[in-house]
Symmetry: C2
Subunit: 243 residues, 2 copies
Amino acid sequence: MENVIYIVGIGPGEEAYLTGQAKKVLEDCDVIVGYTVYVDLVKAFLPQKEYMATGMTREIERCRLCFSLATSGKKVALVCSGDAGVYGMASPMYEMLSEYEGVELEVVAGITAANSGAAVLGAPLNHDYCVISLSDLLTPWESIEKRLQAAVMGDFAIALYNPSSRRRFDYLKRACDILLANGADRSRACGFVENIGRKGMKATVCSLGELREKEVDMFTTVYIGNSESFIYKDKLITKRGYK
Amino acid sequence: MENVIYIVGIGPGEEAYLTGQAKKVLEDCDVIVGYTVYVDLVKAFLPQKEYMATGMTREIERCRLCFSLATSGKKVALVCSGDAGVYGMASPMYEMLSEYEGVELEVVAGITAANSGAAVLGAPLNHDYCVISLSDLLTPWESIEKRLQAAVMGDFAIALYNPSSRRRFDYLKRACDILLANGADRSRACGFVENIGRKGMKATVCSLGELREKEVDMFTTVYIGNSESFIYKDKLITKRGYK
């Protein structure tokens, strides 16, 4: 019999945002593994489980821990915030899978920040859209720049992950400048959501010109509308195209 | 007091894929409105509610029905498959909102097909990605073509919605040809999932050259990897970039 490791997206963090499937997998597993912050989110509503947490940048170690537990017969759930397949642990787990005999993986989808934040802002991604991370820890900045250019060229609505950090404090400004230099208007409708689905949640709408001057933190998801998006009161709306 | 209309994403359709939040909103509302097929999916697990269904292409009528019910004091939930803010009813509802005094909207996020299908295929969207609909009912084909070109140029992983229909039987082939003409290799790793989370679910991996020859129906979500995506056994994996 194969041992299955479940790679579970928990959404923004609170119990209400998990799917029934994700909840059941977490309840049924022997041990829940994850980044410290996500493990604490799950502990809040499932206190009676066995947990193993590893710190930031310990992703590969965390994956190997899951395989090691599964090989020893444990039923493991690896938790990720949002969706496990969006900048999450699904792909590193699959990249290692060939090294471990008799283990299978199953990804349990969750609501990724692009979509949970979009619900708060109204409907910013209601047509073709791109999801781009501004973190250059694992991606060369040239690739990020190329994707921002392509996103404007294709007139996509855009969700930006990891718009900032202590080390990358000016990355959102750099990203806005690339969009502006490639044809997006300063008046382009934009917005951002801080602490989606958590304490301190806050949504803001603004123009691209204004966005360029904003300071946001790493717990923020940023939205750039396409050329037809508009702001209505405190909402950012990208048209579907109905007449 | 404002009347709130909840615009609820139900995910792929079965009860297990709803969030707790979506489930609670549906249980608490007076009437559930939606496209016939989605209403039937919800009826299967919430049979005791009042439902009002309208047919395909009746989207605007459906929205006005919700506002009319809300104005008369009913607590309304408008259901959409997947996420209500991804090719869903969130934006047409916001576009009409200014016509109705005393009504508020709240979008309840669900898991969109890009992400629920990705979980089945492994990890095809585990880096920057685009979501593109091939339906030209509401979007000029030139815009779709421009977005496909931009998606290859930016080396995004891609999820394609509405890849086919009776009238648009050759659109997936046309899309593949645009990707090939703009620099994607015939060997590019791809895949598709039919009937995500429903009876008859089936996942297939293939090359872009092979995808071009496939016949898929409208209940299929198609994935094109980026230039570094790969197939391992029956899974499609887009690398996150860990060394």
